[in-house]
Amino acid sequence: MPFETLLGAWVATGLTLFIFTFLYQDNPLFKLAEHLYVGVSVGYTIVKVYDTVIVRLLYEPMVNQGDWSLLVPLGIGMLMLARYFPKIAWLSRIAFAFIVGVGSGLAIPRIISSYILKQVEDTVRPLASLASGGGPTFTYNLLDPASNLNALVLLIGVVSVLFYFFFSIEHTGPVRVAARTGILFLMIAFGAAFGYTVMARMSLLIGRFTDLIEFADPRYGRATLWLLLATVATLIASGARRRDHLPGGG
């Protein structure tokens, strides 16, 4: 096995275990992994931003293709750095103004389209459908999301939750009934979403564990086992030191 693969296995295993120690308590190993993680991720972002933004989006199109229109974003980007010079700090507002202005403009029609019109369109469904014979019927198969009964339940759900979000009227009388129904819908949905997510999270844990099991193999020099021993030893040692320190005020 190539040396870098072996080293990679040991480093990956070690860092995995260090982060897991967080479940026990805060300790030097977790702090080490945490600070290393922040450092590596910042370094990674810097390199990637340099490579994509400075080189690929700015330098190459300007120098190779003569696309000098890119001087505009370059200038706006520079304005942002004016913050460091109190006298011209206000210039950075121009950059914020541009970013936020474009963002707001882009948002308005797109939000109306996909979050209002689309949602309304999907909620407005006929509460009757055509039977195969030709006459209208009411379908009530709960398992078919498109059945009329489900359309009705969906409509009640959307309407009652919307009532919960009325702020400028007092929740009394019928509004209160609707809003309370809305809360019940909210709770069921939150519970369901919680239960649904468990699987995705467990998949990640299974992924980490299968890696650890793989690296416990003799081919990798039993990295997991040795590093697990070392981690536990360090935890015990740091726990003991912490106890010694506690009487002195922690």
Partner: protein
């Protein structure tokens, strides 16, 4: 503090331990609980099953290490199936960051099934440009990949004999963790070069791919770890995914038990105090 109260304020590290054990044990000693096979996974399986010996099967592993837990078991199961059927296997990836991983997966599966590189299978590696790469492969495979991952000239490989373009490939399966994957293979490849296409994907992007399945643009879809477990069940080789599903079952049931227990303790306290709890904000 009564027993019930103490149990309600149990050290959460005990819960962590329960979850850890419930995950680890099934992974080490899988039980292989029965798994209902869905028609979309069966679609991929049955198509490979129907291919005659020596047919060409292209597996594009379009994911990076971050999606390894879900997609690697799918890749392993598909490769085992294809090798067992004595298909000619072509491996590749559209994701540069997944190249090393994909190579490892293919060579390990081949080694296990006693297959020879260059004769029974080939790993082409990665090449830039997603759409344009697929189009080039559709016109001339050897132009897209003049040499394979191990720098062997592809034209001389026995496994690729008689294969000129994607049109000569019988079945393509893309295992995708994002948009460069199933969608690209459909838009740039299947539409034009008329090979059959199947897919596998992470649980997160699966809902977005069901429309492709319904319209017949892909003939099957393996979704997430569960899909991989179903596939392992179909080929009768229970591996990582089945073990993973056992772990899923164990942890889910463990959490349900914990919740039921905590409610029992809670009700005990409430009845002993004879007062109602406070509503939550």
């Amino acid at each position: 503090m009564t027993f019930a109260e103490r149990m309600l304020h149990i050290d959460r590290r005990i819960i962590f331990l329960v979850i850890g054990v419930c995950t680890l044990l099934p992974l080490l000693y899988p039980v292989g609980l029965a798994i209902k096979v869905s028609p979309e996974v069966r679609g991929v399986h049955d198509y490979i099953e129907s291919l005659p010996e020596g047919s060409v099967f292209l597996l594009s592993m379009d994911f990076d290490p971050a999606s390894k837990p879900e997609l690697q078991p799918q890749a392993v199961a598909l490769l085992r199936h294809a090798f067992k059927k004595n298909l000619r296997v072509i491996g590749m990836t559209l994701w540069v960051t997944g190249t090393g991983l994909a190579d490892l997966v293919v060579s390990q599966a081949a080694q296990e099934m006693g297959k020879v590189n260059g004769k029974d299978y080939v790993f082409l590696g990665w090449s830039p440009g997603v759409g344009s790469l697929i189009i080039t492969m559709g016109q001339d495979l050897y132009k897209a990949f003049p040499s394979d991952y191990n720098n062997q000239p592809t034209r001389e490989l026995a496994v690729l004999k008689g294969i000129q373009t994607l049109r000569d490939v019988n079945y393509v399966v893309s295992l995708a963790a994002g948009t460069a994957g199933i969608e690209s293979w459909y838009v740039y490849g299947k539409d034009k070069y008329k090979f059959e296409l199947g897919g596998g994907c992470t649980g997160v992007i699966a809902p977005g791919l069901y429309p492709l399945l319904r319209s017949g643009q892909i003939n099957g879809l393996i979704g997430g770890l569960r899909g991989a477990a179903e596939y392992e069940t179909l080929i009768g080789q229970k591996g990582r995914a089945v073990a993973g599903m056992d772990a899923q079952s164990a942890t889910h049931v463990a959490i349900i038990m914990l919740v039921i227990l905590c409610n029992v303790f809670y009700l005990l306290i409430r009845t002993s105090r004879g007062q109602s709890g406070q509503p939550r904000g």
